[in-house]
Amino acid sequence: MAARAVAAELDKLRTLPVVAFTLIGTVVTAVVIAAALAASGAAAGAPSSVVELVLAAVPFVQVGIILLGVLPAGHEYDGRQIATTLVALPDRARSLAGKTTAAAAVVGVGAALSIGAAFATAAIATHVTDLTLTADRAPWRLTGAIAYLAVIGLLAHAVAVAVRHLVPALVAMLSLMVIISPVAAGLTEHARWLPDRAASQLYADTDAVLTAATGPLVALAWLAAIGTVGALRFIRLDP
């Protein structure tokens, strides 16, 4: 039954055109941004490396991943498909588990594809342009970037489950990730505890306190907190 719940949720996502468009859009964004970063680095004469270019593209790619994470739960409330979903699978916990698994799958695929595409683009672009190459940063950071994007996507999913509306969840996640977090980081060192700042230690070793091990734990605590609120609301309250 659990497998069928996941299969049903994946089927819904497969037949939702906006999911396919978002996946394609995210990968295209990754390619364009990686190429643009390489070209602007070459134009400015700033030395860089393939891994460095890919990591610099992550903040842009995360916008697409956020949409991808918001869609599985959000689209159910864009209209009343949620009612149909719960008629088909009245066990709310199982329904939510299936949906979360499907969301994790689509977000993971999106993250891996876009980082892969950015890597391929950066590798080609560094050969085509006359970019000065520096020694490559540890390639495991690319895996870290994929994990970071997956965490951000799951956070978007948790917010969408908790908020139960597509556009408000999207705006909330986008504002937090690209406006509030950078503004707060400029104001106070405590901004490191925000979920995206903490999770970014997976690929961007920039923080004095959090490391690549503890940063993700902070982000997971956020994920657990928001996810618990969303799950309680989903399981206990009227849909």
């Binding site: 906006v18 941004i33 643009a36 970063l37 070209a39 602007s40 134009a43 400015a44 903040p59 842009f60 995360q62 916008v63 949409l67 864009d78 209209g79 009343r80 009612a83 509306h165 597509l166 556009v167 408000p168 999207l170 705006v171 986008l174 504002s175 690209v178 406006i179 509030i180 950078p182 503004v183 707060a184 400029g186 104001l187 106070t188």
Partner: protein, 262 residues
Amino acid sequence: MSTGGLLAAELRKTVTLPAAWAGIAVAVLGSIAITVLNALTTRSAIDAGTPERVANTSAFETAFAAMPLGTVGAVVLGVVVISSEYAANSTDAGGGRQITATLAAIPRRVSLLAAKATVLVLLVTAVAALTLPATAGIANAVIGGAATETVTPAQALVRGLGGTLYWTLTGLIAAAVTLLTRSGLIAPIVLIANSSVVSVSLLLTNLTPLAHWLPDLAGRRLFTGVDTVEGGLAAGPGALVMTAWTVLLLTVAAVVFRRRDA
């Protein structure tokens, strides 16, 4: 329907939308929260004798740093004014869209769009009239005489009006894009992401100077003082270019709206 009645109807529809109030809350309360945080940081830096720790100790600059949140609020308002018309109702209630009722009541589509744009301008201006004095007042109260104000009242007024213009134009662009796509997804993504540090337009300026003519970058000098990259258009021409973009997008949206099926 008279012009006054049309405006009143659109205003009432908008202010009864919870999402519109969410947008207003982001702009007003979010800006106030950021300003409080920023002002307290600045004040403690001054008191500790290390004012170089913060970018600027001026109370007005401290308040003005919260401006990006107002842009988010304006985008949300611009999107919901249009997207609420196209959101499908609950299937229990027939699954209809409000746009059909709206167009039955007011079939003159360009007038309808003009009324919506007017309501949006009014709301964004009201939000700015509330937010800017509130944040400037808070920053002044917290920082007070501890630092010298480097911005004269006249400059503060001009920059406040410039910021308001930027918010308004961004809101109108959001409304035009939402009307063209009939979806509330594209405009927030493009406009919110681009108004942040994760700006594709900003990246494009490294590749071609033409990117300075994109609407968000053309208008950014309206926020003079907020950290931006060098180059590009000055405040006056930039505002004109951004206004031209807004008019262009609204015109295209109006033509499409008039010609296609609702």
